[in-house]
Amino acid sequence: MFPSHNSDSNCRVLRFSVLIGLMVFLPLSIYGTYSDPGASDLLTLQQIRISGTITDSNTGEPLAGVNIVLKGTIIGANTDNDGKFSLNVPNLTGTLQVSFIGYITQDIAIGGRTSISVSLVQEVQALSDVVVVGYGTVRKSDLTGSVSTVKPADLLQLPVQRVDQAIQGRTTGVYILNTDGSPGGNTMIRIRGNNSIQGGNDPLIIVDGLQGANLNQLNPNDIASMEILKDASATAIYGSRGANGVILITTKLGKLGKPVIDAGYNIGIQNLARKLPVMDAASFARYNNFYQSFGTANGAIPKYYFTEADIAYYEENGGTDWQDEIYRTGVMQNGNIAISGATDRLKYMVSTAYLDHQGILINSSYKRISLRANLAADITKWVDFGLNYSYTNEKYKSPPFNSQEGDVLFMPVEDAPRWAPTEPVYDENGNYWKHRPGYGAYDTWNPVATALETKIEHPTYQNNVNLFLNFKPVKGLSLKIMGGGTFSNSYKSKYQNTKTRNGYAQNGVGNVDNSFYNMYQNTNILTYDNTFGPHHITFTGGIEDIFSSSFGTSMEGVDFLVDQLGTDNMDGAKSVTVDSWRSKRALISFMGRVNYGLFDKYLLTLSYRADGSSVFGKNNKWGYFPSGSVAWRISQENFLKGSPVVTDLKLRVSYGITGNQGIDPYGSLAQLGSWFRYPYINGTNLNIGFGIAGIPNPNLKWETTAQSDIGVDVSLFKGRLTSTIDYYKKVTDDLLMGRELPGYVGVGNVIDNVGSIENQGIEILIGGDPLVGKFTWNTSFNITINRNKVLDLGPGTERIGWVPTSGGYSLADDYMFLEVGQPFGLMRGWKYLGLWRSDEDAEARSYGQLPGTPKYADLSGPEGVPDGYVDEFDKTIIGHGYPKFTWGFTNLLTWKGFELSALILGSQGNDLFNTLRIRRETYEATDPKVWNYWTPENQDTDIPAHYDGQWVQDQLLQNKYIFGTSSGTTSRWVEDASFARLKTITLAYNFEQKLLNKIGFSKTRVYFSGTNLLTLTKYSGYDPEIAAYPGNDATIGVDMSVYPISKMYTFGIDFTF
């Protein structure tokens, strides 16, 4: 029946073509047999007209857009702007189901009436809500796992470019870190801590069933529901991809009734949230002369760079404020329009959105065009069909910042607050000024030149398509066959022309990277759901196959003949190097789940998944992931039933195993690297070197996370007060990590399963409606406490270190660590104790120091006791990059048409290593606080004293602070980065319905909002919420050249008509 040759690609093509064939052919053929009787039924039955009005039970105002359906049929209608509806029914014995978002759905028996009016009660917490879970849905009341739901309305309260920014502070167990403030900038999402060192900690994101989505490419307006699966009971069904939690997003479909058009536009004005203080030019020049005057050691002659005339000139004419030169007022505009609707058999939603963000750093911007088309059709009574298609085009541009773009010493964000204010931007001929040597940040490059002359173009294109057929042959049984894929490519070009530092050195440097990513997913899910007396059982079983490939090319050209052409004409470069790459990965899975409920009180969920992954070593191709959970709805017991206080009370316990397969393809194979280049043969032209790059590991496998969770859900006073509290503990074993190899092997490490990490935490969410009625107040407070601990790093390894910063900051040795018994983000170095005081002169001299110079703790020595030296033995823990807890506080107040919402969030107990201060407060100082230097009369300061160099030499001190080239590795630069922030505050007005009716609109909302208006923190850098090295969770906590965040004021308007 099938070809017998063994080609993978044939097999795959065949499978997909059969699948598509089935999807097209089956429904059509079946449709033919089904449609005859149905059509006549529909024509003859709709006879009696029922009409009525739907109002709000509190305010008595009519509600527009309420959905009324005759139960068990597809007959339905929506209310108009006056809350009125009418529909035709075959007889007057049925039941109408009246539903509206945010209100409790009511079933009204027609009971012979033709006029029916209903007042709907606003739902505070709807227990009957359906929650999306892995490969299915469950009633919220039946849920046994830990799942957070974020309401789409909450997501749209602040103007954001990505959805995850909107989740921040709104739910528990999710740590969101805005790693930088750039347009289109990324966010780090961690669900319940950090499980992995090298396997990645990003959650699995699934949009409409398609796995591995990118939140930056999703239009926030398209979201219908968003759930965050946290415990193993919820995520184990995703097996080897579930350990970091799962975010499930469903996009919108139209509702029965006439087509609805939703449109919105907003515009935001942004400014640098906080500027770093810098000296003016005269003050800088004076300070520099003052500083130089002490340089007399070894018989040196002090060299003064500024004359009195220079200083007088600066007094009169001022200098350059480099931050003003590179930052500007940014503008963010957002426009979106969606058309949605539904007929008896077809639901649809088509939307498009445009985002244009001009960032606060000159020459930075982000643009995004997105398009989505969702379709769902009932082909027959027992087959329906659906399509989700989305297209996103992003265009990203920014001058280089943070570590991913090369040497931090040549980046405008880092250089601007360091450049001497005495230096002009341009010389008299209009060329970019070069910093005069000898003082200031002369070893870096003109920040304006770097910002304006680095030409970056980075568009990405992504198509997601997802088709499904859903068969429901008998009651309770359904088979959903889904086939889809993601097809994306990205082009990145960067040209550093001869006015940039690298371009100047090499006569133009151009880079072009082109990459393609294709992912195909086939998911087949069989679901059986039925109730037998008190037993409610749901069985879910599935087979899934995911295949992805990526490939690309990258080029670098140097020495361009025509500077203006740059990367658009790589032929014009004298020397071009090219690389290309390709990799594939495959995942084949079988899964099953049983949900069982007895008397709606005792609930049990068991799930199991088997994953076969191509990236695992050949001895370990399959991994197995079971989970189980139970829940007890105590409120359903007789002693609580009907209680006026307790509306709902549920206790949940779960345990399960999930995995992480974040291994790069071919990671288990031996490898020779081809990237070595050395002019071995003729000394002039590079020869390609093939060198040893990896030794094989056939036993390589997934990381295993065992998680237990105990939680309670409470709802009191008919939902006026609700709370969810969870405790969890996760232990991740078999960490994917480079297992260290002895140096004589020639390869530093081999990727292996070593080490173990624990995360445990408490999540508390309390929400309520203190005020209902005409004036309403909805509020919620959440707090997440995660304790992360490294349990094991492999035999003989106590700690692993990183030195994320490159040259120029006296940080040559590791200072960020993973250490057994300690959490992620650990900083180690010498402990700064302030400056030596005058009365400590003798002790200071015993270390070769003087009063007024920094004092560091002498904690230990070779014998384990203080030895009079501060050296390697005295390094200690000096900071923690992750917070002890994070919290959020949301408020929504409404009165008539007005809405005021505010989100306050915070992070407590995290430190930042403020590297910039190392340069701004020492020998090339630009920070005005350096004038507050230590003197015997002014000892209460952190700025060291100045001593004549020759005099110090004559003291014949023997320095016992042995810091080598790592003198920056001290707690002097580590600061508490805890913060509390008014993230957003929005005032909105919904125009009165009556007014709108006259112009044909059903809803109009205008709003004014402020983002990042107020931040309380002791941190002295640009912002306490940043990460310079987001690529490695262990190095979170370092501030270095990060695009700063901005304050934003936004005005927006939304229409529905």
Partner: protein
């Protein structure tokens, strides 16, 4: 009824088909990479063998990797020449040096094995011998560096299974056996001269000079086997007599860019014209092209350097390139900087670009090795020894008699001559990865180091610590005296 049957039927088919497909495609889980090779399907042509050599050099000199940034072979910081040589040598000192040289050896060993196993096709026996000779030269040079840095070290050859845990530190004598055997093979099989298109490869004289240095090192501390002096002398004499190399006449020109392939440079780390790996700012003071001054001389040594043309050629005493008019007294630490490696054009220096080569073996060294060995083997200075070293002295002084840098004579005692040779090496070969090894083999660290740092001196400083990582991961390894062993 018909409908129901059809539904059931289609469902069964569908499920069956899907199951069948999924099981058939389990072989998808096998990985067949297409964008890289493994060691099993490589090393079969001469250029693949040479690509292993290129990789082995790149790991040592490839863009801020190791030897290209002077600071990294940290032990050279402890020379009396280099500013800041405070003799504080902690347990982490020189760890990169260990792993990088072993990485180079790991690149070379499979090439040697492939040549032994006769895997290489399309080459004559002579070409194969030349490939093998290069491989063994490179391996010997890497081991020679390692054995001097660390003493006893694990010998990893083409037959060693590095994943086994029976690897121990082989005694120095075994390491030298390997080095000498490899180099003897290289001296015999390497061509006297490579054709111009392959001129950067090591030739026979490079191997001979290196072997002379190996012998002289074996004749001195710590092995002190003085019978090696004669062998060192003979080897160096072969190089001098062959006449393939000579001194550059003018001391100003020795490090000029057009001299990087001879007549004096014999084998070097090369910067490619296609890619520069060193930013010359490491050698320059802030006043000159915004220099960083990573490496500068120890003031005591720099100021004591005899006043002669060589001092101005090798040391940077004033800005005579950029015209800022500053002298070393204006620069950081008010000490002389290093000029040998800033022969680039002013324009390139301003651009932070340098294509300078760094000699590893230079003809001047062959002359000095000969003179030293001849004196020691003959029981005192001979005319031949004096003639050899005086070529260097005359060039340094420009032929002008200099009481601070006098010519060598046969009237000197053996010891005087030997001391003067070591001093002459110090002046001539400064900053060329050499002085430290002279200090080490002559055991003079306490005599030459800055007296301020003398309290930090210990005889244990002559060897660097075995990296903590290797000691932790292989309990059979032992630590050098004076350093911490993290394992019981």
């Amino acid at each position: 009824m018909k409908k129901r049957i059809f539904k059931t039927y289609s469902l069964v088919i569908l499920s069956g088909v899907l199951l069948l497909f999924t099981s058939r495609c389990a072989k998808q889980l096998e990985e067949n990479p297409t964008d890289f090779v493994g060691p099993d399907n490589f090393y079969s042509t001469p250029s693949q063998i040479e690509s292993a050599f290129a990789a082995s050099m790149d790991v040592l000199f490839g863009g801020w990797t190791f030897y290209d940034w002077y600071r990294y072979p940290e032990i050279f910081d402890m020379e009396d020449h280099v500013f800041g040589g405070d003799l504080v040598i902690n347990d982490g000192f020189g760890n990169d040096c260990w792993s990088k040289h072993y990485e180079a050896i790991a690149d070379i060993n499979p090439a040697i094995k492939a040549l032994i196993d006769n895997q290489v096709t399309g080459a004559s026996d002579q070409e194969k011998d030349e490939l093998m000779a290069q491989a063994r030269f490179l391996r010997a040079w890497n081991y020679f560096m390692l054995v001097r840095y660390y003493g006893d070290i694990p010998l990893i050859t083409e037959t060693t299974d590095v994943t086994k845990d029976e690897i121990i530190r082989n005694p120095i004598s075994e390491v030298y056996d390997l080095i000498v055997n490899d180099l003897l093979f290289a001296t015999q099989k390497l061509p006297a001269v490579w054709p111009a298109e392959g001129k950067a490869r090591p030739a026979a004289d490079a191997a001979k000079t290196l072997l002379a240095k190996v012998y002289i090192t074996m004749a001195t501390a710590p092995t002190n086997d003085v019978t090696n002096y004669a062998m060192a002398r003979d080897m160096a004499k072969q190089v001098i007599d062959a006449g393939n190399y000579s001194l550059v006449p003018n001391v100003e020109d020795v490090f000029k860019l057009d001299k990087e392939f001879g007549p004096e440079f014999m084998w070097s780390f090369h910067n490619s014209q296609e890619e520069y790996v060193i930013e010359p700012q490491i050698w320059l003071p802030g006043d000159m092209a915004g220099g960083w001054g990573d490496i500068k001389t120890e003031k005591r040594w720099g100021e004591a350097y005899p006043e002669e043309p060589r001092k101005h050629a090798y040391l940077l005493l004033e800005d005579n390139i950029f015209g800022t008019g500053t002298t070393y007294l204006n620069w950081d630490e008010s000490t002389p900087y290093v000029k040998k490696f800033v022969a680039e054009s002013k324009e390139n220096l301003e651009k932070n670009v340098s294509y300078q080569s760094f000699p590893i073996i230079r003809y001047a060294d062959a002359l000095l090795l000969f003179a030293e060995a001849e004196n020691m083997a003959s029981g005192g200075p001979t005319q031949a020894a004096c003639d050899a070293v005086n070529q260097i002295v005359n060039r340094a002084t420009g032929g002008v008699a200099n009481p601070n840098d006098p010519l060598f004579t046969t009237s000197m005692t053996k010891t005087q001559f030997d001391d003067a040779i070591i001093q002459q090496r110090s002046l001539e070969l400064c900053f060329e990865y050499d002085r430290w090894f002279d200090i080490q083999r002559k055991r003079i660290l306490d005599k030459v180091t800055d007296p301020n740092f003398l309290p930090n001196f210990s005889v244990n400083d002559y060897l660097m610590p075995i990296p903590q990582k290797d000691l932790r991961l292989n309990l059979k390894l032992t630590q050098n005296p004076g350093y911490t062993d993290p394992t019981p």
